[in-house]
Amino acid sequence: MSEYPYAGYAGQYLRVDLTKGNIQKLPIPLDWVENYLGGNGIGVKILWDEVPANIQPLDPENKLIIATGPLCGLPIPNTGRLEFIAKSPLTGIYGDSNAGGHFGPELKFAGYDLIVFEGQAPEPVYLSIHDDRVELHPAKHLWGRDTFTTEALLQQEHQDPNLRVACIGPAGEHLVRYASIQVTYRRSAARSGMGAVMGAKQLKAVAVRGTGGIRLAEPVKMQALALKLHQRIRTNPFYRSVHTYGTPGLVALMQPIGRFPTQNFRYGSFDGFEDISGEALREQHLLRDTACYSCPIGCDKVYTVTDGEYAGTLNSSVEYETLNALGARLCVRQLDAVLKANERCDALGLDTISAGGAIAFAMELAEKGILGPAEMDGLDLRWGDARTLITLLERIAARQGFLGDLLAEGTARAAHWLGRGSERYAMHVKGQDIPAQDGRAQQSMGLAHVTSSRGADHLKAFPVLDETGAIEEAVRRYGDKYLPDLVNPLATQYKAFLVKDCEDYAAIVDSSGNCKSGGTFVMAEIYWQDQAEAIRLATGMEMSVSRLCQTGERIYNLMRCYNALHGITCEDDTLPWRFTQIPSPSGNARGSICHLEIMLPEYYRLRGWDARTGLPTQRTLARLGLEAAHSRLRAAVASGASKAAYEQLGWSPPYVGPTKDAL
């Protein structure tokens, strides 16, 4: 193969037809990297081109894309990230999920930037990649195994302890709609149910080992830039605390501002927060600090439980999200039980956020009398019952019993199917369970949940500036003209601007292969300018900040267009009633609601989207080189195809009122 025009990339990708067992090695089209960079960008481009709206997420015609980006594997900080992209079984629209760890760089060392899986294997298989040697193998002996065992068996089978594995557990095999893909070492690509897509394709695992290298356009300059960025991160004032506690350090910070969702989002503060805080976690359970590939921060850790009912539990990368979803959201305050539940989610291959959301939903239905005793499968659904939590996780992963099967569908679909007023307790946006933020306590986050391209999510915009008021960071990015409102979590002014800018930058980070939790959003030492410089030195591509901004916008707009093909409009850009109708009872947010009605119109205006439909205008799409997307979208709306696709999604928009059941 002749040398790829751009360094930084491996330059080729794998297309694996699981139906026929056919594997192709293909050069990456230049249009993909020049206009969409990599990762999510190329992922949404492939979905747009190859997976039409009438295809259901679990159909063989859906595609699963495993994608790295041009910075993945490179010397700048935190380049272990990779993306899984497919139409989501949870939401029915654009879906993706991101994981750290060590798999992404290894795929590039083996010589591939991405893998596109299509079709459906007639029986369980796994894909092994050893540099040039790429093979499908039977996986009957792995089917039914948990993710840890699967990884260990593959490493034994290939006699290679350095084999990097991405695999599903029983939850993915049983098509649980929020099944995760677990990646070496114990990192989770969990949102959007990408594991169920693997399950439907009967693809148990991908195992990769690469001994090749990645060429850089300007290796000497790249090394100098990378060393400078490492130094800046390591001397950032927040470095010590982010390293020490990782995301669990947020528990104690979110509690006083009323942004620590409790009891299915009824409250924003939790009485038992100290029991499940980052401080308690480190003090009682830390075994050692670990890190993803090329990460100077190391928010990843190994935690163990050494005594009591849950002795023998071992976790890595316990996150803030999990402490909330499996802790406060269910009123569970036993940290060792939360760790056990987290370990089981990783072993079974479940998203902790949606699993916690589904169980909180069930507990609230039990409290409200919507679920009858006969429907509880003998479980005690009282708030705070840790044993129920752990039992339910097992049942969900196996789709066992009425409740296990119901909750495996995800909160939004479960509510849509069940009816009986259960809809008001399904805390979701576009079918995706809301993560551990509260738009009443942080206005920008409420907007971010609504505008996220994969349904309720914090990471598509990740507007961390107004969480606890990062003034210096705000000034560094935008000057002081937006202060003090920009960093005030309760103010709505400038939040549409913040969310839009962050979404565009996050689309770039997710397409480049570096990390939002270390160096780009949290401790944002790498922002537009440095990111553009890093891409230029890595690839040799002409990359200005304005071109990068436009690329971010292009990616985000194409995601919106893809969702619009499935009938998504401004009608779906809404939060459940708890956030917009019921004033927060907690912390600094007491008395506040989320003001979408102020922020959303401003957001549409900044995006160049039609205020009446919430869809990108012809002018906006033309500016981004997406003229063809506009005509396709217009045709889909005119023919009724997008409306027909919408009816297949399987969920209804969240309940918005009236609010006769306060709290």
């Binding site: 060392f109 302890p161 850089l216 050692r288 890190a291 090329s294 990460c295 100077p296 190391g298």
Partner: protein, 170 residues
């Protein structure tokens, strides 16, 4: 007399980020290719144990004794044990002699005396090792031999034995 410098490795501090491997390969090979790094991090499946492994050097220098090619492996002025690529036949005797596995033989076209393969090991980057510079938890330091001495080699060897036992239990 020139002070001999050694790598002082503290495995308990290592986070497994592999920045040492990445930068080692970048500075020696001009591209990112951790497989050709002169340092490698060993560990178990759950990373309860992590051991950055590189030439200390140990002081006994069994690699030098084992080498059949005169002058192919030697101690330089700074006390680092280095391989002279043009003289190395990639016979692998040094790699087998090293107790901690700090030398690896790679098949690489155009490299070594026979133009087919080469033994690679740490050369301390001429006195200012990059791995030391980039290691975030400071698990790798460079210091005079008199400070740390033979202890580092023996500690690594002991840690590797513990790792082997742990892996066999997994």
């Amino acid at each position: 007399m020139i002070q001999t410098m050694i790598l002082d490795i503290a495995p308990e501090k290592c986070t497994g980020c592999l920045l040492c491997e990445l930068y080692c390969s970048l500075s020696h090979e001009g591209r990112v290719i951790p497989d050709l790094a002169r340092i490698s991090v060993l560990g178990d499946q759950n990373r309860q144990i992590l051991i950055p492994t590189s030439c200390i050097p140990c002081g006994n220098n069994p690699c030098i004794t084992a080498c059949p090619e005169p002058g192919a492996i030697l101690k330089n002025d700074l006390g680092a044990v280095i391989i002279i690529e043009e003289l190395c036949t990639a016979c692998g005797k040094c790699a087998r002699a090293c107790q901690i596995g700090a030398i690896k033989v790679h098949r690489l076209a155009g490299r070594g005396k026979k133009g087919k393969a080469i033994a690679l090991k740490c050369d301390q980057c001429g006195g200012d090792p990059l791995c030391v510079k980039v290691c975030p938890p400071n698990a790798i330091q460079i210091c005079p031999e008199t400070v740390a001495g033979q202890g580092v080699h023996d500690r690594l060897l002991a840690a590797q034995q513990v790792l082997e036992e742990a892996i066999s239990h997994e």
